[in-house]
């Protein structure tokens, strides 16, 4: 075992040495953009109308990737929910000590503000850093704070799955609207581009991001909720 580990260690060290020497001698920082990036930088204003080029790439130029990613996340949440399903409902909360009152009050005040901040992130996704995924993650952490602070807080599975399915469905509908009314799937130009740099602009990007945000938020919340409510093996 020790022999195997040390051989592996030597192998990894050799690998690291080769790659680091390659990088340090031959690789230097790029001085200018590549062809594709240059095209995006010069034409994104006319074609998409979003100041945040990363959002433009994520939502429209590479929109299908995003759709696939949302599908993967949905499948993950579904598999986790399926694997953690237990036949009889369990109550883990009887053995816990009473939660701190101060934390409960602070969570009371902070949860809506964090949700507001998450909405800010995904509504302003085309202007400032952020977008549906980050906003959804922030909203999910707000719900994590809620279920941690209040011992008897229960999130409704029905509301979570309803939000998830409605927003996912609307996301696809908007993509199909792009085929019908504009150039292709997830094309955002079927709505007017608006004034460059204001909040209601960039066509359908804010709407797509709102749906992605709600979908990702509800999926991550359902993952955490399933983990919380499943049966404890040993405590």
């Amino acid at each position: 075992m020790i022999l195997r580990n040390s051989l592996l260690f030597l192998l990894l060290i050799a690998f690291a040495a080769i790659i680091i020497s390659l990088f340090s001698t031959n690789y230097s920082e790029a001085e200018q953009l590549g062809i594709v990036a240059k095209h995006y930088a010069e034409n994104a204003k006319a074609e998409v109308g979003a100041p945040n080029l990363v959002s433009a790439v994520v939502v429209t130029y590479r929109g299908l990737d995003t759709l696939g990613e949302v599908v993967i996340l949905f499948l993950t949440a579904a598999i986790i929910g399926f694997m953690l399903k237990s036949k009889h409902s369990v109550n883990n909360s009887d053995k816990r000590i009473k939660g701190s009152e101060i934390l409960e009050t602070a969570a009371n005040a902070l949860v809506p503000i964090i949700i507001l901040f998450g909405s800010y992130i995904f509504i302003n996704g085309h202007l400032s850093p952020g977008g549906g995924f980050q906003g959804g993650a922030v909203i999910a952490s707000a719900f994590v704070l809620l279920v941690m602070a209040k011992a008897n807080a229960k999130l409704s599975h029905k509301i979570i799955s309803f939000t998830e399915s409605v927003s996912g469905f609307s996301f696809v509908i908007i993509g199909v609207l792009g085929i019908i009314l504009a150039a292709g799937f997830l094309d955002n130009t079927f709505l007017p581009l608006g004034k460059y740099g204001s909040i209601i602009s960039a066509g359908a990007i804010p709407i797509i991001y709102i749906f992605i945000g709600l979908k990702v938020g509800s999926e991550l919340t359902s993952i955490v909720n399933n983990l919380k409510e499943s049966q404890n093996i040993e405590i």
């Binding site: 000590i97 701190s100 101060i102 934390l103 602070a106 005040a109 902070l110």
Partner: protein, 117 residues
């Protein structure tokens, strides 16, 4: 205008010195409660002063910096309270010169303390 920038830079410097002292207190203090005390207080004021100084250098950033300061003021004491409560609950050893521990005594009186970890 220029003078305001220098004042802001000096305030930022003080803030970072307080952050540094908080981290030093983390090392020098003998037990976890004193470490939480030094860490929380110094890091809170240090961050606030740093952000305030940056706000003086860049006045148009005021809104976001104000939100950040309010957020730090609300969350930081709560997290240190929850952490110290957990530390006391699982019975982390206290400093050998600790004078009194009334919470321990009260909890033993009511017999509500579960087994230690």
């Amino acid at each position: 205008m220029e003078a305001l920038k220098y004042i802001g830079a000096i305030i930022s410097l003080f803030g970072s010195i307080f952050l540094f002292l908080g981290a030093l207190g983390l090392i020098r203090m003998p037990d976890v409660y004193n470490r939480i005390q030094a860490g929380t207080k110094a890091s809170t004021l240090g961050t606030i002063l740093t952000l305030l100084g940056i706000g003086l250098i860049m006045p148009s950033w005021g809104g976001k910096l104000f939100i950040l300061i309010m957020f730090v003021i609300i969350t930081n004491p709560v997290s240190s309270h929850v952490l110290s409560r957990a530390a006391h609950h699982i019975g982390v050893n206290m400093y050998k010169n600790t004078v009194t521990d009334l919470l321990e005594k009260d909890e033993n009186n009511t017999n509500s303390k579960p087994e230690k970890q």
